[in-house]
């Protein structure tokens, strides 16, 4: 079994209220070195068998049409990870 990872992030020009709340909360844990946080999403698409170019293309399409909303988000990564043990 293999997995395709899709990472989606809010567009740079879109305010990310959740990231803003996180960066404000970090100092409560004594963490003060981070000046900004942006929160995105990671999807793992499981594939039985090998990931062909066609399957990868399908994953890219699903990432653009359903997993992300192009008005507010960018797909920043679509890549294959092979599980060490299935």
């Amino acid at each position: 079994m293999a997995r395709i990872v899709v990472d989606v992030m809010p567009k740079p020009e879109i305010l990310d209220p959740q990231g803003k709340a996180i960066v404000r909360a970090l100092p409560h844990q004594g963490v003060t070195v981070f000046s900004g946080v942006r929160q995105g999403k990671r999807f793992e698409l499981e594939v039985d068998g090998e990931v062909t170019d066609e399957i990868l293309a399908t994953a890219r399409e699903a990432a653009e049409t359903m997993l992300s909303n192009p008005v507010i988000e960018d797909v920043v990564n679509v890549s294959v990870i092979d599980d060490v043990e299935a």
Binding site: I14, Q18, V71
Partner: protein, 276 residues
Amino acid sequence: MSANTFETPLVADLSAPGADPALKDVRVGIVTFPGTLDDRDAARAIELAGGTAVRLWHADDDLQRVDAVVLPGGFSYGDYLRAGAISRFAPLMARIVDAAGDDGGLPVLGICNGFQILTEAHLLPGSMIRNDHLKFVCRDQRLRVENASTAWTGDFTAGQEIVVPLKNNDGQYVCDQVTLERLEAEGRVVFRYLGRNPNGSLNDIAGVTNARGNVVGLMPHPEHAVEPGFGPDSTGSGPVAKGDGTDGLGLFTSALNALVNGSSAGSATTDGGTRA
């Protein structure tokens, strides 16, 4: 009452005279998705406005010859993925997109989660993200009707103020700068928040329409301000007896009257409305 209309409990007397009997022939579909909350309120609003509410199920493939559609509020699919993102792919949504698109002109109103579904389905521009302050907002909200020539606002006058409840988590309207300028230039901002912006929406936008004016989406809930005793404590004109605010009814009567009078869906671009 036929099997696929909503049973309406007699809190108010729905047989009270006043409504144009012709309105009763207007069939308005109320779509229920898994997790929809306000379908019964929306159906009741249609009935109180004088029309006939028709129950539609998201997984069906048939619009049952309705004359208009309301996508009610709630948390369809628990807002999983993004609010409205999964509902958008429901079989019935494909029919609605066809019927409401450029060749169709079916009047469609999306309220709250329904608005989110309409943006995900690309029937309306922009998108909603988390409220800028990250808190759920529930309050009576004053709005200005900016465009009174859509299919859902014809009974208002441009610039009129109304009060309806607002209750949401992901209510911050966003779009790119080019879209924002086009919406403003074409008079496609239908409702604007007055007073403090409740969620960080660009230009205080509470609702928008498509170019033709038949599809309208708004975050606040007009269907919760349709019945004396159960609405806000004020109207656009000022305070009223507790719960007697019924400003939301105008959206539903607008659509029914426009359909009965045979006027077209209205044009967002000819009248323009007023601007902030």
